[in-house]
Every structure is written in C-alpha cells, then in structure tokens.
C-alpha cells in the first residue's frame, strides 16, 4: 500500500522543526517512530502533504534522572525505556509498561512522545502516565510549557498539544519510599494493543495505610482516564483483599466504555474492574505491605 505523495523534511534541530511547522501549518505532520502515522497513511486515513521527521533532531531522546523525576525525551523509543538501567532502578513500572507494547520491532521504532501525542484509546503509556502523574513538556514558537497529564488527554486521539507545538519531554515523578506500582493489561491477540489496561501506583505509610494512590485505565473508552473512585476508595485504608476488591469495583466509573469488535460495554467494564484489581494487588505486593 502506498501512501499519498508528500514532501519530506528532516530538520536538524527543534527550532528548525518549529519553523517548518509554523510555515506549513495544517499541511504538515510530525513523524516520530511512524508506527501509528505510517499505517494510517498507508490506509490513506491520513494524507499529510508534508512530513517533518524528528528522527534526525539530536537531543530529543534519552532518559535522565533529575532528583525528583525521570525526564524522558519524546523521541525515546519504547525499547530504550524497556532496557534503561535508570528506569529499572528508579521507576521499574515504566519498563514493565514498555515491555508489553506491541512486539520487539514496534518497540524499536515507536516512541513515548509519539504515543502520548497520538493518544490512541488503546495505547499503554497513557494509563501509566495518569497513575504516576506525569507532565508533558511542549515546545512552541513562544517557548516551552508544561501540561499535567490530567489536562492532556481531551478525547479520541485528541490532546492539549497545540497546532504549532512539539512534545519534547515527558517528566515522570519518582515514587517515594514505601511505594509500589504495576501495570496489567489484556492484550489484543493480534496487535497487542490494550483491550483494557490498568496501572496503579500506591504509597503506603509505615503502618501500611495507603497515603497516595494513582490509578489510570486505558483501552475501554475513547481516552485513558484517572479512576478517581478507585483512588478515593484506597486512600486512608489498609489495603487488604476486601478493600482492594471494593475499590476495583469502581474502575469503570467515569470511563466512556465503547462497545467494539473486542467486546460489549458490559464485558469491557468488567475487564476494567478485573485488571484494576490485579494492578492494585501487585502494586501493594511491590510496596512491601
């Protein structure tokens, strides 16, 4: 399948990329790993007249720890996250999420920034970013701005990224001592996209009481959401099996669950509850409770 013809641009830095974006406006699309955009172009669901490839812009990939957060360049591939020693030692749940995205070849090309900018309703990263409270750093003609994850996902494949902006970094706060995090997904058998995925990040105090809970759910609706009801039912409690079970019952509340080829609204709502429970249970175990 051949996509519609386009002109290709390979800027050497972010400024040049922003200049092209400003000049070409709606006719242009950013190309990152291409593993969402190129399939859409082959099906002619997307027909940009210009592609601005970030692949040759230095400095947009890599993972750094800056005290309180892991700072991940937008062009960092899923495999780079999966195999990063900084990730494994400081926030291993990110490696866990990366390792279940697609397949090894998809992980070698697909990027964290591309996934968060694309906001596929079945993408894995969104659930983890919500659970961990990440911030997106966008760069536009007027400089950089940060957008909190709760303001990021606006709807089906829609984000707070503005037309002339590029997502340059994702900042993921580190978890305090006494925390545990886990991601559990029900993968689509062919593509491995999340039919439903749930990520839980929990902090327990010395008495084993949950002091902070972040729970994100992806796959079931048009966008990933924070499971606020679940979080509220965890905070302030000792997380025994009955408490976890009761909290997880709220996992589909606030999700605009969509029936599709993968299942009915009822079935997918059920999966939200099951996978939230599994993620919370594992996060508690990892927190050492």
């Amino acid at each position: 399948m051949y996509p519609a013809a386009f002109d290709y641009h390979a800027p050497k830095n972010v400024k040049e990329a922003l200049g092209l974006l400003g000049k070409l406006k709606d006719d242009a699309k950013i190309l990152a790993g291409g593993h969402s955009l190129i399939p859409m172009m082959k099906l002619r669901l997307a027909q940009p007249k210009h592609l601005i490839d970030l692949g040759k812009v230095p400095g947009l990939s890599g993972i750094k720890a800056d005290g309180k957060a892991l700072v991940i360049g937008a062009m960092t591939t899923h495999w780079e996250v999966e195999s990063s020693s900084a990730v494994k030692s400081k926030l291993p749940v990110l490696a866990e999420v990366a390792s279940v995205i697609g397949d090894p070849a998809v992980r070698n090309k697909g990027t964290i920034g591309g996934s968060l900018a694309h906001a596929d309703p079945a993408a894995d990263w969104p659930a983890a970013m919500i659970a961990l409270g990440a911030e997106m750093v966008c760069e536009g003609p007027k400089g950089k701005r940060k957008v909190g994850v709760d303001q990021w996902f606006l709807g089906l494949m829609a984000t707070a990224l503005k037309e002339r902006e590029i997502l340059v970094q994702v900042r993921v706060p580190l978890l305090p001592a006494g925390s545990g995090a886990a991601y559990m997904k029900f993968p689509h058998p062919a593509s491995r996209f999340a039919v439903v995925g749930a990520c839980a990040a929990l902090t327990l105090d010395k008495q084993g009481v949950c002091s902070k809970a972040g729970v994100g759910v992806t796959g079931a609706g048009t966008r990933a959401v924070r499971a606020k009801g679940v979080e509220a039912a965890l905070v302030g409690k000792r997380l025994d099996a009955a408490t976890i079970e009761a909290a997880a019952q709220k996992a589909a509340d606030g999700v605009d669950v969509q029936a599709d080829l993968q299942g009915s609204v009822e079935y997918k709502s059920h999966l939200c509850r099951v996978f939230a429970k599994r993620a919370i249970t594992e996060a508690v175990r990892r927190a050492g409770a």
Binding site: M1, F6, A10, I38, S83, G102, V106
Partner: protein, 158 residues
C-alpha cells in the same frame, strides 16, 4: 520530489533517488533487488518484512526509505558467509523450523536480534520476542526449537 538516499545493505553501499513515500521494504526489494525480505500483511502485523536497521529489528513495511538515509542494514541475504549458513539458519534447517518459508526471513532476523539481547533465552522469552512474527504453517513449536538450537550452537562458538 525525489530525494537522494544512501545506505549500507549487507556491507554493500547503495545510493538512489527515491520518492519520499517509497517504503523501505519496497526500496530493498524492488530498487536494490534483494527479494529475501518479504511483504506479508503490509499492515505492520506479520513481521515478514523484518530487517535489522542499525542492529535493531524493524518492520521495513512501516518505515520510509528516506528515514533510513545513512543507515546500516542487514537483511536475510547478509547472514550466510562463504556459502555457510548462519547458526540461526542452520537451526531452522535442523529443527524443521519452516514449511512454506514465507515468514522465515522475518523470523530469522527477529531471532538474530533476540539472541543478541538474550543469548540464553528461555522458551517463554523466545515466544514473547516472537510476538511480532506470524507463521501460518508451523504452529511455532519448531521455530522455538530452531532458535533454541541456534542459541546453543552460538554459545558453543564464542
């Protein structure tokens, strides 16, 4: 608008002018003439088009040739040396890891990266790493055995 691209494929330098929308897999097969890399699904699912780009397994149907400008590529044709099969190829022979052979080039290139990352893979690791490669014939058992065979023989050589 055609753009110049240069790359090194199996040790040979190649350069051409291509349309930006030319997929890397079509460049390799139709422009360079290396037809060992296959096109199965053309929708990023089957892995028949897997090649190594800068040492990493990628699906060449989901990338434009212009993105690979300056890259070093290894395809199935680059594995055998002086008429001697690579141990992974030999493993597929010994363990009957193919039937029609359509998926085999992609399977072998994926296995190549796998054994670099995980020289002693468990069966579970092999199956997880093969998730992006579909085979309509073998049921995968013999492919797993072929990769296990290769892992043993490659370890022996080091």
């Amino acid at each position: 608008m055609k753009l110049p691209v240069k790359m090194t494929i199996n040790g040979q330098k190649v350069s051409h002018e291509v349309e930006p929308r030319l997929l890397l897999v079509h460049y390799i097969r139709e422009v360079v003439g290396l037809t060992g890399t296959h096109v199965g699904c053309d929708t990023s699912q089957c892995g028949a088009c897997t090649i190594l780009l800068g040492g990493q397994a990628v699906k060449a149907c989901t990338m434009f040739a212009v993105q690979a400008d300056g890259a070093t590529i290894l395809t199935i044709e680059g594995l055998a040396k002086n008429g001697e099969l690579h141990p992974i190829q030999q493993g597929f022979w010994e363990k009957h890891g193919l039937q029609c052979g359509f998926c085999t080039p992609g399977m072998i290139m994926t296995a190549y990266q796998m054994l670099e990352r995980y020289p002693k893979p468990t069966e579970d690791q092999i199956r997880h790493q093969l998730e992006g490669n579909l085979c309509r014939c073998t049921g995968y058992h013999n492919i797993v055995k072929a990769i296990e065979w290769a892992a043993e023989h490659m370890a022996g050589k080091k």
